[in-house]
């Protein structure tokens, strides 16, 4: 299959303008005739739905929470990047582009990333205009801070609640359109399937989470902005409802899934405290601006942190990466933490932790400054661990956080299914094999506010609006099929909860497909996952009825998809016989234990095609071309 990314011609810096100049807008009077379905109301979905509504399209939004305002985006803490160069420290669109390509270990498309860097500046303007309360300096202008993988200060933030404030801005814009009647919002609904007509995406089947009813909603295009699949590892920093169902069901309907093995393990999370744990909490990367990461030099050193003298501490990030130090990118910082813990130098329960120490910063800047910067994070840490970071260094350990892989999309953000667009964390674009901090919010909002509203007309111009109704036979059939899945699950009446299977899956994935992967481990996972899936379909127990609010059923449906998707992820990790970004294959490393890319054989996007439930998915490749940046080994030393 030829994967046409539809990259516009011309010099990199002009591609997006050329694209827009060449596109044919839809007559304003005709826009109303088109109905667009947007699944997901996080940053990507809410910004897209609001902007499409403003343009005059009719839009319907769907989310599984009780309100669009609760999407997982709300939890982003640290900030959002933009190449404003307000600091006069040498930032530029090109530098942000370069940092993102390099941070992604040269596995992203140049044209997409360049457009992202260009749009980053408009995002900040848009959000400021909405009343998003970004941090300000005393002079009244916008403040910035630094984030991992960059030597300039380009991260805009709103205390430790940047995602919340940005989402509430987008939610406001969405509410305005709901009030204006252009957008209809459907909270507490979960997409179960995609309606396909003659090879085009024409709608979705959703389950109403209050009544259990399955209904069809048809439209002229479907937009998935359903977030990432981090909880495939069970424990992650994601909200516990995050799932792969929408994108995986689209995959089964023919959309290619790209680079599923690119998963990001974030270095600074609060370590797991017991088996009861339902999620792991991120401590924002911004803390690495002032915190220093270290472990004892000695193995199994049981002394308290303050009893370990300076010369017996190993500030391993500063030692190994002197120029980036504690701000080394996430994949590198995570692996380094794993490495020191594997050596037996980890701290805290089970030796799975490293210190993040603020004592130097507190001495240098005073408690008040540190408190002003991070009080909510310190507070959260203390709530969870019962330890005060002003007194004791934080204990941190890597955890599943973000997924770079997602549905394959072209430059217009359209998947391989005509009429199906994918935005935000749900698509695979822009971050390559590793995402830099503060770049997901940027991407989600760029996709939603600026890219999709300019690209969707290209597709809509080619089709006739309103070609299908909710009551058509095809819709009914898809709804019946989705209901069958539910009945099948309900009728098993086994002995174990859906959560049991999710935890087991998480163990397999974390051990064999986590921070370090091997041929043997992946083969092992590939034999264990189908066995677990089989057991699930024999022994899962879903209590209650399907025609009411039923959280056990919701969970079971999500776990069923994770159990299939995990296998796809492992296939991808197995075929990528190189290390790059978040994908580390132990067989492929440099002498100092750094990821060793193989550009000769693997400089491509791996896009997988569903071939049926018993068949191995088929791999298609989109070669990546680097015309503006020379492929180089990533160095942060």
């Amino acid at each position: 299959m030829f994967l046409d990314a539809k990259i516009p011609s011309g010099p990199l810096a002009d591609k997006w303008n050329h694209y827009k100049d060449a596109s044919k807008p839809i007559n304003p009077a005709n826009k109303r005739k088109y109905h667009i379905i947007v699944v997901g109301t996080g940053l990507a979905g809410a910004s897209a739905a609001a902007s499409l509504g403003e343009l005059g399209f009719r839009v319907s939004t769907f989310c599984f929470q009780d309100s669009p305002r609760r999407a997982h985006s709300i939890a982003a803490q640290g900030g959002i990047n933009a190449a404003k160069n307000y600091r006069n420290d040498g930032d530029s669109v090109h530098r942000l582009f370069y940092d993102t390509i390099k941070g992604g270990d040269f596995r992203a498309r140049e044209a997409n990333v360049y457009r992202l860097a260009q749009l980053s500046v408009n995002i900040i303007d848009q959000c400021v205009a909405q009343g998003v309360p970004f941090a300000r300096e005393y002079g009244g202008l916008l403040d910035n801070r630094s984030f991992g993988g960059s030597l300039v200060s380009r991260t805009f933030y709103a205390r430790g609640q940047t995602g919340q404030q940005l989402l509430l801005g987008a939610y406001g814009a969405l509410n305005r359109q709901i009030a204006a009647g252009t957008v209809k919002s459907h909270p507490r609904t979960e997409m179960q399937d995609l309606i396909m007509v003659d090879g085009h995406a024409k709608g979705i089947i959703v389950r109403n989470l209050v009544t259990g009813e399955m209904t069809a909603h048809t439209g002229d295009a479907v937009v998935l902005a359903t977030g990432g699949y981090g909880p495939v590892f069970y424990l992650s920093t994601n909200a516990i409802g995050c799932n792969v169902t929408a994108t995986y069901r689209a995959f089964k309907q023919g959309a290619l899934f790209a680079n599923p093995c690119y998963t990001q393990i974030h270095p600074t999370c609060i370590p797991q405290s017991g088996d009861h744990q339902s999620k792991l909490t991120l401590m924002s990367e911004s803390l690495r601006n002032d915190g220093r990461v270290w472990v004892p030099k000695q193995k199994s050193d049981k002394r308290a942190a303050h009893q370990i003298p300076e010369e017996e501490r190993d500030y391993y990030l500063e030692r190994k990466y002197p120029s980036y130090g504690n701000l080394a990118p996430r994949d590198i910082a995570s692996r380094a933490a794993k490495q020191v813990c594997d050596e037996g130098r980890g701290i805290g329960p089970g030796g799975r932790g490293v210190f993040l120490d603020f004592s130097d910063a507190i001495k240098r800047l005073g408690k008040d400054v540190i408190s002003a910067r991070y009080s909510n994070l310190f507070h959260m840490y203390q709530k969870i661990t019962d330890e005060d970071p002003f007194e004791l260094p934080m204990r941190i350990y890597p955890a599943s956080h973000y997924t770079m892989g997602g549905l394959w999309v072209d430059y217009e953000l359209m998947s391989t299914i005509p009429g199906l667009f994918v935005l935000g964390e749900a698509n695979f674009s822009d971050h390559g094999a590793n995402r830099l901090g503060a770049s997901a919010l940027m991407q989600g909002l760029a996709d939603g506010y600026f890219v999709l509203p300019n690209t969707i007309s290209g597709y809509l111009n080619q089709i006739k609006p309103n070609s299908i109704k909710d009551t058509d036979a095809k819709c009914k059939q898809t709804a019946i099929d989705a209901a069958d899945d539910v009945h099948r699950l309900m009728s098993i009446q086994g002995k174990r909860s859906p959560d049991f299977f999710h935890r087991e899956l998480g163990k397999i994935m974390w051990n064999d497909c986590g921070m370090a992967r091997t041929e043997k481990g992946l083969q092992n996972a590939l034999s264990q996952i189908p066995a677990l899936r089989e057991e699930f379909w024999k022994d899962v127990r879903v209590t209650g009825s399907d025609l009411e609010m039923n959280p056990v059923l919701e969970k079971a449906l999500r776990v069923a998809d994770f159990l299939e998707f995990a296998e796809l992820l492992c296939h991808d990790a197995l075929q990528r016989r190189e290390s790059c970004g978040g994908h580390f294959r132990e067989e492929y490393q440099t002498q100092d234990g750094e990821a060793k890319r193989n550009d000769e054989d693997f400089c491509y996007v791996a896009a997988w095609e569903y071939k049926g439930s018993k068949q191995k998915p088929e791999l298609h490749k989109e070669p990546l071309q680097f015309e503006n940046i020379a492929l180089a080994q990533r160095s942060y030393q």
């Binding site: 609001a50 403003e54 929470q65 009780d66 309100s67 305002r69 609760r70 997982h72 709300i74 939890a75 408009n122 900040i124 303007d125 848009q126 959000c127 400021v128 205009a129 909405q130 009343g131 309360p133 970004f134 300000r136 300096e137 005393y138 009244g140 202008l141 205390r159 919340q164 404030q165 509430l168 406001g172 814009a173 509410n175 305005r176 709901i178 009030a179 919002s185 909270p187 909200a239 516990i240 405290s273 009861h276 339902s278 999620k279 507070h379 959260m380 709530k383 969870i384 506010y449 509203p453 002995k495 909860s497 959560d499 049991f500 127990r541 209590t543 209650g544 009411e548 609010m549 056990v552």
Partner: protein
């Protein structure tokens, strides 16, 4: 170190059914668990006995999405101030304690199931005017609108609202003044909020009344339970804004 607890939990099959308290034992609870993780343990146990688990809402489990909504021992979000139920940890309780758990109760929040209620009235209030009307693409450079740090901070303190509804659940009149005040205050402290200032406050208050929220009689319970510690200053500001808008 682990604890055994007696729970009294509100169970209600659906909006039409009559609800009641049901007792459960929570066994071998670790002090490091969050309150919701304790409920997860109870629910796993119920599933293993083939009983329907307790329905409650949560998503982020880190105190920011506003989904969790439990009245614990009579207090919205439980005994810790400035803390959502999902961030409340079991070390706050003792072995042998009896803990009562109820849903938000308010006329405007109708029950759905067990501990889950319908808070969509909050969305409708926001739709009435809780935003700045600005179309995508038309914004000037962010730094053309300087905002003093004092006003930026005041706006932020109000903007921290997570829309959980604890303020309503705690108020004997089920008033939503803290929630509405938070949005009105955020936008009145910013230049961006000025053009629509009057109509915003009027529209939001009208909607709030229409949805069946009560009036404020200054008992300040809302501030006491607010997980983001939003001050009743925003209610004073809301009242002032409303009067100003009538002039």
């Amino acid at each position: 170190m682990s604890m055994n607890l007696h729970l009294r939990i509100w169970r209600q099959k659906n909006s039409k059914a009559k609800g009641q308290f049901v007792s459960y034992e929570a066994k071998a609870i670790s002090p490091d668990m969050s309150f919701l993780e304790m409920l997860d343990v109870v629910n796993e146990d119920l599933i293993s006995q083939n009983q329907e688990p307790i329905a409650f809402e949560s998503d982020c489990r880190e105190g920011i999405c506003g989904a969790c909504s439990l009245v614990i021992n009579g207090i919205a979000h439980g005994p810790d101030s400035g803390t959502t139920a999902c961030q409340l940890h079991m070390r706050r309780f003792k072995d042998g304690d009896t803990i009562t758990v109820e849903p938000w109760r308010a006329k405007a929040f109708s029950p759905i199931k067990d501990l889950v209620v319908d808070r969509s009235a909050f969305d409708r209030i926001m739709q009435a005017g809780g935003f700045v009307s600005v179309n995508t693409g038309s914004a000037p450079d962010g730094n053309t609108i300087p905002i003093s740090k004092v006003h930026a901070d005041l706006a932020f303190d109000a903007a921290a609202c997570i829309g959980c509804g604890a303020c309503v659940a705690a108020c004997k009149n089920a008033s939503a003044m803290l929630f509405v005040g938070a949005k009105v205050s955020q936008l009145m402290h910013l230049p961006q909020g000025q053009p629509e200032r009057q109509q915003r406050v009027q529209a939001m208050i009208m909607k709030m009344d229409e949805e069946g929220f009560g009036s404020c009689t200054n008992t300040q319970e809302c501030e006491a339970v607010c997980p983001k510690e939003i001050s009743t200053r925003v209610i004073t500001e809301l009242n002032r804004e409303f009067v100003r808008a009538q002039l």
